[in-house]
Amino acid sequence: MSKEFPLREERIGFYICHCGINIAFKVRCHEVAEYIGTLPGVVISRDYLFMCSDPGQEIIEKDIRELNLTRVVVASCSPRMHEHTFRAACARAGLNPFRSFHHVCVREHVSWVTLDEDEATEKAKTLARAGVNRVRYQSDLFPKSFPVNPNTLVVGGGIAGMQAALDVAKAGYKVYLVERQATIGGHMLQYDKTFPTMDCAACIGTPKMVAVGQNPNIEILSLSEVEEISGFVGNFEVKVKRYARYVNAAKCTGCGECTKYCPISVPNEWDVGTQLRRAVYRPFPQAVPITFAIDKKDRGPCVQTCPAGTNVQGYVTLVREGKYKEAVKVILENLPLPGVLGRVCPAPCEKVCRRGEVDQPVSIRNLKRFAADHVDWETLEVPEIEKKPPEEKVAIVGSGPAGLSCAYFLARKGYHPTVFEAMSEIGGMLRAGIPDYRLPPEVLKREVNYMCRMGVEIKTNAPIGEGNTIDKLFSEGYKAVFLSTGAHKEFMLGVEGENAEGVLRGISFLRNVNFCVDGAIGNKAVVIGGGAVAMDVARVARRKGASDVHVYCLEKREEMPAWAEEIEATEAEGIKIHNSWGVKKIVTNGSKVAGIEFKRCVAVFDENKRFSPKYDDSESISDNCDTVLVAIGQRPDVSCINGTDGIELTRRGLISADPVTLQTGKPGVFAGGELYSGPSLVIEAIASGKEAAISIDRYIRGEDLIENRPQRPKGENWAPIPEGVQKAARAKMPELEPAQRVGSFVEVGTGFTEEQARTEAARCLSCGVCCECKQCVPACEAKAIEHDQIDKVVTLQVGSIIVATGFDVMDPTPMKEYGYGRLPNVLLNLEFERLSNATGPTSGKILLRDPNDKYQHTRPPKSVAFLHCIGSRDKNYHEYCSRTCCMYALKLAHLVKDKCGHDTEVYNFYIDMRCFGKGYEEFYRRIQDEGVRMIRGKAVEVTDKAEDPSEEGMLIVRAEDTLIGKMLRVPVEMVVLCTAMEPRPDAQEVARVFGLTLSGDGFFMEEHPKLEPVSTPTAGVFLAGACQGPKDIPDSVAQAKAAASEAQALSTLGEVIVPPMISHIDEDTCIGCQVCIGLCVYSAIEFDEFRKISVVNEAVCKGCGSCAAYCPSGAASIRHFTRKQIFGEIEGILAS
């Protein structure tokens, strides 16, 4: 039934397919064809049994040629099935397939989903009419083709990833295999045997690993993760983060000597925590690459907080190990004077110690002291230093902590530092301001002597300033000068009577006592001040014979700047502290002090937290005394710059210097310590000396002072606080009794005992895992250990990507009824695999766990129960069946019988046995034949509560035997939970990176469940293995081979054709608002800065239409889905 319609120039052919009976059983196809034939422009309208068949296609081709058709509409199945078929037919007949052809779906959209025949037929007519109306507006389109990069990226080195890599490599293409762990192998290599053949997993798995490792076409990137992907099918650019291994893979021979020296133990992930490994480790002996790696997380909060960057975790660990000399050497890398700091450091590290989250922080300062007190400083080796020529000398002004620190680090770098000290003794405030009972002078002396052995020269009684100027130092050949004369000048009260006899300045008093110059004192002393110096002054006064000592300060108790423990020690020595009092005047009797009057201090600080005391004059008290000691603060003595120009002071009277480099306004002159910072912590002074040494080294070598300066460590990726850490109190420093202290300058703290110290050090949680003690470095003959390595990002170019990221075993801890984590012999299936595996904690023996020590095992169990479907087939957890558990439970049951003896009772509690694969049912029968008891009923509980004596000490499994309808109590010695296979926790993020989607179960979704099992919505990205859904090894390998064949097909063809139905932005209409750029999930739109318009990258665009739907100026449109085409279709639907 053909007829001529000369009204329009378009000549349309319409064809409706019966699809056998799939369409025709609901849609009266002939009637539809007749109706469409009546529409304007339709030249021919037919129905046919199978349009997709060769004769069907020939009808179309023939009609085009004979009737001069310009357009063709076929109503049949979904365009996903045969759109391509009919387009090809049009093309063969000489038409542009995109212009001429439109496909209408009347099967999936009509016959399969409509019950009533009349309704179905009407709907088919409507849709067909819409198609005929639309096809008129279609225009010529031409697909583009792009070259394909022949390299393939495989993500995940489990059995699927390894197999895919091998197959692609075998075809001659380059493969990058990215693996997150330190070794490839994946879960399969953790198992002992494989069902149903009982092949040893290692025997069939390690050959694959070796083959991958040795294949010249495969490059393994272990300890690596894909961060970002850009580009499109055939042309991907991949950014891979390569985590530092800290072991040079090219040098490491895998001998394992390093592990003998590593003091850190953590649970081995490969063994699912059933045994420990060192921080320097290899997951298991057959690892590929064989290279060791160091597990180094971010440096602990202690290290990050220490102003000097002391490796706290390192020396604490070595103290625990009893390696005190090594501990001191670790300290000395970042910190001079360990014995001194071990006594007087305010220990900011302890405030952030994560042990405090468990109980109390580790007593870090005291451990430092312990280490320093347990080495012989006379014989302690100085590090090997390559000395610089004698003219590379540096002058350091002041021998306080900052000056000594600067000199120390310069000497370590090979320079020749000379320290000029104005006083007669070395140490600055350490020597002059800290009483001997807190810091014995011999401790300072031994550690200063050590520095001198390293090449530090010290001149005492050698002030720098007027007469002996800084300029003079330069003229004497010093290349640089570091100023650190500290804050030794004291503030005074400015009240009446202050100049009376018996009024002493605190620091001067301490200095005189320390230097044994003077220090005479009266009977009753009043100390003014609430800081550390005031406490020291009071305690020294007590020791020098004052029988009655009182401290008065402005601050409330909780505002006092002195540390709480110092305040307590002060009070313990019988000294009374009076808070919130300010001095009104000092009462004199002739020239001598007779007493002191105070007024109430109501506030010390103003609203901006600035020091600005306010008083209430109406409230006052007075006290009699013969001595007043003023300890209300110090300020710097800047006389060292006298006679030298170019060095400026700040408003506070401090030396002005760059906060990073510490260089003053005068090149080559640096400043640090309290001279630069004002009153501060001793550890800050040490740190500033260290920083200045870095600057001076750079200055002398003529390097930029700032560029690439070492960064302080940061980050909070620390080892998790282990579960079940036993609380243990922080060690207490043994002290002299208060009675012994008064009148004596013997050190109050007597130091930890060795047992105390090592126990205390063992409280460290090893936040950074590797403690950088570097004991492994000399142990490595191959010199492969490189602690300075850093994470890197490499960029790879590939044409195809195979995602094989695997699965996780579900953690059954939240299912309290099974007792996992509480009952030691309730095991996870993977734990059991490790027990049975030759490289596991028991070298392959199946043994019970020691209830008192999870890393110890005792004897073989006499009975074992395997519980199926834990977390699988359970809507409360995972609704899906994990497919492998029935079979591996049988395998593990067999292993128990095999290894523990055939008299061992083995039970399997199951719901349904799913033994569907080749040889699986036979395996099931074989295991039953071995005497394994099968109980049909899901286990509901595992308990250790015995109901009769035969159950004592056993694990009782409760379940209904559903075949006899009775509740069972089955006592066994070991229970194995066969838990679900579940998606990796970061599956969502991985999906985002690779442009994948997740199915309802959380695994990656394939493009079509039957016909495209390895493809994904992103062309060129394929799936393999259990990341797509629970799978056993044979299925994973088969899928891997399929994915490999997809990748090879791309590489072999060498080009990809990209469909032309993509976005187009009209350059004349675009206003350059760039909204589309943000909307495009494929990053296919870029902004042309020159023309100020958005431009579509045709290779990347997927034609989703987000840009076209939004574009405010109407510039963006999708080819083949233009407004005319869409509205044409809608009009066709509406016209009835």
């Binding site: 479907c869 899901k938 509740m967």
Partner: protein, 379 residues
């Protein structure tokens, strides 16, 4: 072995009145394994579902009437089958066919005649509120205070009710009562499968609430709470008084001050806990009482042991050694508790009965409502 032929019309009849989810049962036996009856005797919900799903005789036996609707099985079922609904529907089919267990007859008839299951006159429904100055519910009051029949008529529970209502009113909660027009929520009738009786009660209450403009309800029984939330049609917010108390304490409107030096274990009522996930509020109330030493029982929260009173259990006769209440009291005693606190009138009756049955002296252990303990501390 003689063969049996499935009678699918029975299955269809059950599914007609609910229980449709029984179709997806995979017969794993989890329900049987966790059912508290198996602590004392054999009872297999799994088998019951199987028999019903094929209409094979056996489902109608005594065991059908055993279920106390504690929802332990429901909370663990891997297929999330509403097992209680299956049992309710099966019971309903039995009642329809005229098979009524003798123990149900009196309460069901009382429900129809007096709007309460306790054979007490409707006119006495609000006797408890005398001397309490609780206003009639109106536009001016925020909450309807809905007292459970068991609270309103049972002497022991009446004391609880008075203290609870008194404290709420004194703490400034704007609430009123409706009075003798209201009827039992119908929970027991519903769970027993007495469909018509239940529907009558539900419709009468729903109309009443709508007529009076009820938007928010405070219930005294967790059973009323559950039914209002899950079965009643109507848009009202329903809370239990323990939730109100926890809120009032948190907001500082109610302050327990007097020490109550007792070792108290909390018994989770099934309809508050497993059915409605209200676990924390009653505990918060107890923990806020000074001097009170809180004890957590081994079976607590979602694994709490039922008192045996739900689903018609309160009317059934069970041998002493097989009463859950007796097991529960022994458990609490072993844990060192002097008081078992609860928040449900059925639990109160069942546990007090268990105390007597177990022969435990009042000086050794008492059963108190959370509200009573709070009352002691607040006054």
């Amino acid at each position: 072995m003689a063969s049996v032929t499935p009678m699918l019309e029975i299955t269809d009849a059950v599914m007609e009145v609910g229980g449709k989810t029984l179709k997806t049962c995979m017969q794993c036996g989890t329900c049987t394994g966790v059912c508290p009856w198996n602590l004392v005797k054999e009872f297999s919900p799994r088998l019951l579902i199987r028999l019903v799903s094929l209409g094979i005789e056996g489902y109608e036996e005594d065991s059908l009437w055993n279920c106390v609707t504690c929802a332990t099985c429901v909370s663990r079922c891997p297929r999330q089958i509403d097992i209680i609904d299956v049992i309710r529907a099966t019971r309903s089919v039995m009642l329809e066919s005229g098979i009524v267990p003798p123990l149900y007859r009196v309460p069901l008839s009382s429900l129809r005649n007096e709007g309460n299951p306790w054979s007490s006159p409707r006119s006495e429904r609000t006797d408890w509120s005398k001397n309490l100055e609780i206003p009639e519910f109106s536009e001016a009051t925020e909450y309807l205070f809905f007292a459970c029949c068991t609270h309103a008529y049972d002497a022991r529970n009446k004391k609880v009710l008075k203290e609870v209502a008194g404290m709420l009113a004194k703490s400034g909660v704007s609430m009123g009562i409706i009075g003798t027009e209201e009827s039992c929520c119908g929970d027991q009738a519903h769970k027993c499968g007495a469909f018509e009786t239940y529907t009558g009660l539900q419709e009468s209450n729903t109309e009443l609430f709508a007529a009076r403009g009820v938007k928010k309800i405070i219930t005294t029984s967790p059973h009323c709470l559950n039914l209002f939330i899950k079965q009643y049609e109507g848009d009202f917010e329903v809370t239990h008084y323990t939730q109100q108390f926890a809120r009032l304490i948190k907001e500082g409107k109610l302050t327990p001050s007097k020490p109550v030096p007792l070792k108290v274990a909390y018994h989770d009522p099934c309809y508050l806990g497993r059915h409605n996930n209200i676990y924390d509020e009653p505990r918060d109330v107890l923990r806020s009482i000074p001097g009170l030493e809180y004890i957590e029982l081994p079976r607590s929260r979602d694994t709490s042991l039922c008192c045996g009173g739900g689903g018609g259990g309160i009317w059934s006769e069970v041998e002493v050694e097989k009463r859950f209440s007796v097991l529960r009291i022994r458990e609490a005693k072993e844990a060192g508790a002097q008081v078992i606190a609860t928040a449900c009138p059925f639990c109160m009756i069942m546990l007090e009965d268990g105390l007597k049955a177990a022969g435990i002296d009042e000086n050794e252990m008492r059963i108190l409502d959370v509200g009573e303990l709070l009352h002691e501390s607040v006054e």
